[in-house]
């Protein structure tokens, strides 16, 4: 049984047929089903029959972890680093199985997306190869270090390929951990690369052009509409996956997207290594390329939880938080929870946990000065998260607790940092209830 074989796999009464793919683990088979999707199957639970050997020629070689592969074209081209965490772009099969992207290198990317050829010289690098729901804090840090190394090595821009489920959290994390003089552009795919409706080519081309362009932002670049015409550029700290399956699932919440990339113009203008600046339109102020020095602050305090309040919630849900350094509350409306819960928040705050209030409304600003419940919440020592998104607030609090005020973090400095815009996550205060 070899990758490339056509197999029939039986597991738990279900039989699937497809092509065996190179698996990254000893324990899982990965099979590309005839319908186009891949499935990971526990080897121990499965019985496999080889129907035909070597049906597909699968290239099992490529750069492994921590290796950098390079591809250079003729002429004076910018250098773009393509960093994979498990994203789909370089893969001709489903990006989520954790198998195929292990064979990721710069050549694989170009084989998958030939439209990228000649637009830049590429460096390929694999940081992780996971389903994005399995993303963890240490991988955020490893990714930040890899991006830092790539920029130090001369990359003119970074494209991070990432599963879409938790892309917003990772983009937020890098927004806080890195000061960057060059673009860092996250992209992914909502449809696997071998489907006719796949968004991977357009997202890849637009992201590479966005990474060549004249800015120094951490962005998410994904389809802006159901058409194949424009990708939106979202700030990493304000972006959210707002639809389970649409190609234009990502939105900037509480603002307009930072800008956009016209696909057709990007294809034309970005060829031969030219910077397709005219394909890219910024709708709001942005940081210019080279305007800040590269620096890395990868420390994160992992003991931060996000807890969503809903009516009828068992107070026991808040019991495991005693030893946490931070808790982000996803409250209702302007930033409320049941009055009976306020003493618990006060207890946590008194014991040194930084408690930050955000709103499950997602849009708009928390404002606990308006109503009496809110005032009680502030009296309890809870920090207002402004209009920071709940998920972003969790990531920010992890970073703030590890980076603000040194080893003995003063609660006031944490609170002040949470009320300060560090990476576009917080817009200037208004009085939204008027």
């Amino acid at each position: 049984m070899q990758p490339g074989d056509r197999v029939r796999v039986e597991r738990g009464g279900v039989t699937n047929e497809g092509v065996l793919l190179p698996s990254t683990t000893e324990t899982y088979l990965v099979v590309k089903l005839d319908g186009g999707y891949n499935v990971g199957i526990d080897r121990e639970e499965a019985s496999v029959e080889v129907l035909e050997s070597g049906v597909h020629d699968i290239d099992g070689n490529g750069a492994g972890d921590d290796e950098v592969s390079e591809i250079e074209f003729e002429g004076e081209l910018p250098t773009i680093s393509l960093i994979s965490t498990g994203g789909t772009i370089a893969s001709t099969v489903d990006y989520r199985t954790g198998a195929v992207t292990a064979q990721f290198d710069a050549e694989d990317v170009l084989r998958a997306v030939p439209e990228l050829a000649g637009r830049a010289n590429y460096r390929g690098r694999v940081v992780a190869n996971i389903l994005s729901e399995n993303m963890e804090v240490p991988i955020w840090q490893e990714l930040a270090r890899a991006v830092h190394e790539e920029i130090e090595a001369g990359a003119d821009g970074i494209v991070v390929m990432h599963g879409t489920d938790t892309m917003q959290f990772t983009a937020s994390a890098l927004s806080f951990m890195l000061e960057t003089p060059v673009p860092i552009v996250f992209t992914g795919s909502q449809r696997s690369a071998d489907r006719p409706s796949s968004d991977n080519v357009m997202n890849a081309v637009c992201s590479v052009e966005a990474a060549k362009a004249d800015h120094a932002e951490v962005l998410v670049c994904m389809h802006a509409s159901a058409s194949d015409d424009v990708c939106a550029l979202h700030r990493g700290t304000r972006v959210r996956k707002n639809h389970t399956s649409r190609r234009d699932a990502f939105d900037t919440v509480g603002a307009t997207p930072l800008g956009e990339v016209d696909y057709e113009a990007a294809i034309e203008e970005g060829a031969d290594g030219d910077v397709a600046d005219e394909a890219i339109t910024f709708r709001r102020d942005y940081r210019e390329r080279g305007s800040v020095e590269l620096s890395l602050s990868p420390e994160l305090e992992p003991g931060v939880e996000l807890v969503k309040f809903t009516p009828g919630m068992d107070p026991a849900a808040w019991e495991y938080l005693d030893d946490k350094d931070g808790v982000v509350v996803e409250g209702t409306g302007l930033g409320h929870v049941h009055t009976d819960l306020i003493p618990r928040l006060e207890e946590l705050a008194d014991d040194g946990t930084a408690v930050v209030m955000t709103s499950q409304c997602l849009e708009g600003r928390v404002c606990d000065r308006v109503y009496d419940t809110g005032r009680d919440i502030l009296d309890a020592g809870v920090i207002e998260g402004g209009d920071t998104l709940p998920g972003t607030a969790k990531v920010k609090l992890m970073w703030v607790l590890a980076n603000v005020g040194g080893d003995a973090v003063a609660p006031e400095s944490v609170a002040e940092a949470m009320r300060t815009d560090l990476a576009g996550e917080l817009t200037a205060e208004s009085q939204p209830w008027r």
Copy 2:
């Protein structure tokens, strides 16, 4: 010290001046501040100075709990029951303090919103008088019983006045608990009634007209835009407060609103008790007035929790769920959690907890048949919530566990009910990832 006195209140170093309002509790003072908002202040912690007695003539009398007040006009008018849970419409002061709406009766409503006079005969009733973040399951049930009684007593439509923070949960709860032959319309206010920008008059008028109209839906009626022109009609199970402070904070998620009410037309056509049907436009199919028999199924299983998954989450967050009857998971993307968490979900399901997967994307359908993590989640016994909103799924699961299959609930019947549209919460299945 009497309601109506102008007072200076000092508490914890903060001094406020305003007018003392009739308080509902022995323990709280409620003061209307000069800025327009009210604040509740613990009597024990406050020192109060009366600056001037009897500045305002405050009517401290009115219908108490469980009393029904009535106002009739000349002619043949429909009867609308106005049921308050703490909403703002009947209040000339802030609706959230828990104080003033205790004096709520039909006369108070008309004093606050004179535009309602002559549109219907009114019955006024107070079910609760709380901040909506303090809403609890027994109050949902009490409200459902009150609505049932009012319809039995001949009401042609119900308007429920409710704080906006958790209105969507209560509207969902009534959607499952009641089969209704007449409209049940929830409304509230994002700006207190004494502010120039208050939305209370328009929301009240549009809601009363929506309650007179020819349908039998449980709806939320709130501003559709930033202008004072149209109120949207949202199905109770698909509505969400998507902004902390805007007057048009409420959206139908995953669909267009069921319909809308043109304010100007409603004002004109609905006078003299006429039904302003032409002011109301339905955009989708709806249940007609009288098409179902009135029935009440108020039982709810309170042991249901909603838990949101985020990257880096401590597995301890899932420990308190052992004795729960139901758990709604707010997963990522198509309905995923970290692979390491799946055995815990399986353990819960094996022990008899109904575990339902929803998506924090909010829009779109969960679909755990696409990727291998999803398949593992289904293998673990997790029920797919389709495109049911996470909060609605929590309320639905409470209702299903108490009403489907009798005392010994078969897991299959619960799963089947969660996959069946009961009250507009679930749209027909498609294959959204194609």
